[in-house]
Symmetry: C2
Subunit: 432 residues, 2 copies
């Protein structure tokens, strides 16, 4: 029986994992697909480097064309990273009638629709389950499992590094810098952690998730982003005291035809299932009109989980090949993109400010809120060690982002406010 | 464009939900499938009954053959329940080249493989996502999402009624009978709750899950079952004190080639993600060799969630129809069934016994354990109000079920033991 040929671009941790899985699970894969899989060619930087897994040196190459033009390669698996150059190579592969599986969220978040179109023209498959929350089959869940439902909200912890940092900060009361250094030494954070801690990585995943969930082309630039580097121990202490857990949450929400997508540090009630998602784990909460609340939980990254997701995609591609139905998956967005204005984005907010400890301060503050019809759900006021200052922490009732930003501006301008210390979205404590 | 015809067997809550979803989501479904869906015929008990949803009375029938022999029905959706008779009708439908989608776990747990075989012979699809944990696309996750992984353990809360009861008992300290009555009045428990509270419903779902997860034909009778009706407030109090949460847990575990499948009240550490699954919600924890731990969470039942799962299956069937690939899904078990002996089933145990409060009692008890090499992880000893008795609560280190059952027997026979009050499996506090 003819085997199906695979070409790999990259042989780092994930690539090695893919090779291992294909090797160790030949039987199971064969049972599912009905024919053997063979890795035909692998692009590497250095053919002489020692590898964790036994590989015939003759299939290693440093020339990408050896992979994407190889006559016996049916499926190209891209695990080398990069965006612009990588896109060109994958488009070339698709034009060569190679199916493409990738774990590259940077690429998919920006060029997903372009690559999809090219795949479709060439009757090729293009899958990227591994690009979001490595070990969790969430994309498949959204596309297949909830096929008949209208998804109204996606809420997720989709970055393992920041979840690890926030978990440690909350549990041990350690400061951000210290925990970041620990995460780096454990390999949970990169030497340059910017993309993770500033929320960009999570934003890319939310762009991919919301594009599939709402069947609408959501770009990375449509996602409003705020990272975790400004979060202090005081904020975490107050969260705890008020019964909340701080998480970096990606929210994608649809009301009527309009959507909002953001990534920001968010307070969730302690009893919310996402509050129990700790360390480097990821989870995505999905609200469907019919199904209600479902959640997918699992490892967000890691060589083997990501490799598992890639091989799952590979299995789908190969089943499609056997059935002769590649490139026919209908995943093109059904709706025109329509983003909410700030006046249409509603939420509760946690706000911590330092005010002058004098008669009438609090009244002035409350007036700023009440003039915009925003009331308080919770209030804490505490004296500060610093002379003449008091700390006020409030959780508002639901307010529009427009009103809330105006309130923040007015508070900053107010003569009784010494400083607006911090502000976070509060989610998950009401029926959505 | 030709429409795809659907026939429904049953028009209760779930059936009505299916009709509603097909009606309300025509556009989305059409976008995915590429042609309209039409409900052609519905089997009901009473054609004149008032319905929640508008239905052309001419498509209602009380004769099942009108549905399963209808020339324009392509897919039969079975939501009427029943086992023996229903099986006959579904086999007849398959022989008439109708694809079958069902939510009927009783049927699938017992006759799944027979129906599969018949479907395969007739090149028809047979899907049953809705039979396990209604709103959670767990079967699809097992078959597709984790296709390339070796699943070593499934651990799930797969019955909403018992989870509702245990959650209320734990939170409010109310006794079993009282909470059961409340669950019945809220519609979370049947008038005859036996199948739920004695674990049979959960056992059916575990048979289905483990058959798919291990690719092995696991029958209902292979599942060892214990329900929740014997759980007392004392047990729940001790669990809490020791940092555990009591759940009715289905466990399917594979070591080497051998598997064990059981449903029983189980203590999980409070910080285990399944401990946070409350009320009528369900969740399935999956351990894959490569992927590690993943969890699927959602509503376990309910008309609309179940209907959503059914329509998701329907979408798959219809896509297959459009592609001309029905009946080709390879889901036949790959391995011969091989069940563990009791000497191969390992776990920790929680045990509560009443002993005579006299010198040497405790020594005698510990000897019974130590003779079988079983040691204690946690011990609590408390005097009882009843004269001359003390209560001992222990959590053992890992022991084989064979040893543990012998210990239980010897404790019952011992002259220092007044009564073995309760015993539960303890799970989830170690790397599996």
């Amino acid at each position: 029986m003819k085997s199906i040929g695979v070409g790999l671009l990259g042989l780092g941790t994930v690539g090695t994992g893919v090779v291992k899985i294909i090797k160790n699970h030949q039987d199971k894969l064969m049972h599912q697909i009905g024919c053997p899989i063979e890795v035909k060619k692998i692009l590497v930087k250095n053919v002489n480097k020692e590898r964790e897994v036994e590989i015939d040196p003759s299939i290693l190459t440093t020339n990408i064309n050896d992979v994407i033009e190889h006559p016996e390669v049916d499926v190209v698996i891209e695990v080398m990273g990069g965006v612009e150059e990588t896109k060109k190579h994958l488009l070339a592969a698709l034009r060569n009638k190679k199916h493409v599986v990738t774990a590259n969220k940077d690429l998919v978040a920006v060029y997903g629709s372009e690559i999809h179109a090219c795949a479709s023209e060439n009757r090729c498959d293009f899958y990227y389950e591994a690009s979001v929350a490595g070990g969790i089959p969430i994309l498949r869940g959204l596309v297949d499992g909830l096929a008949s439902d209208k998804i109204t909200k996606l809420m997720g912890i989709v970055n393992g590094t920041t979840n690890f940092i926030l978990t440690k900060m909350s549990k041990n009361g350690s400061p951000y810098e210290e925990v970041l250094a620990e995460a780096q030494s454990l390999g949970f954070a990169e030497a340059d952690p910017t993309s993770d801690v500033e929320g960009l990585d999570a934003a890319r995943k939310m762009a991919i998730l919301s594009t599939l969930g709402f069947s609408m082309n959501i770009d990375l630039k449509d996602v409003s982003v705020k990272g975790i580097s400004q979060i202090t121990e005081e904020d975490l202490n107050y969260s705890k005291r008020l019964g909340y857990t701080m998480k970096l949450i990606g929210i994608a929400k649809q009301d009527g035809e309009k959507v909002e997508v953001s990534v920001q540090p968010t307070l969730l009630p302690d009893e919310h299932p996402l509050s129990a998602v700790n360390d480097e784990y990821n989870a995505v909460y999905v609200y469907g009109e019919a199904v209600g609340e479902t959640m997918f939980y699992g490892p967000g990254a890691g060589g083997l989980p990501t490799a598992t997701a890639i091989v799952s995609d590979l299995v789908v591609v190969m089943k499609n090949m056997r059935l002769g139905v590649n490139g026919r998956t209908i995943v093109s967005p059904q709706y025109e993109k329509s983003l909410k204005e700030n006046s249409e984005i509603f939420s509760k907010y946690f706000l911590r400010i330092h005010v002058k400890d004098q008669v009438g301060s609090f009244a002035k503050i409350t007036t700023i809120f009440s003039e915009r019809g925003v009331s308080f759900e919770k209030i804490l006021q505490l004296p500060l060690k610093e002379k003449d200052l008091a700390e006020i922490v409030v959780v508002t009732h639901t307010a529009s982002l427009k009103d809330y930003e105006e309130i923040l501006q007015q508070l900053s301008d107010s003569d009784v406010v010494s400083q607006v210390k911090s502000s976070y979205r509060v989610e998950g404590d009401d029926v959505q």
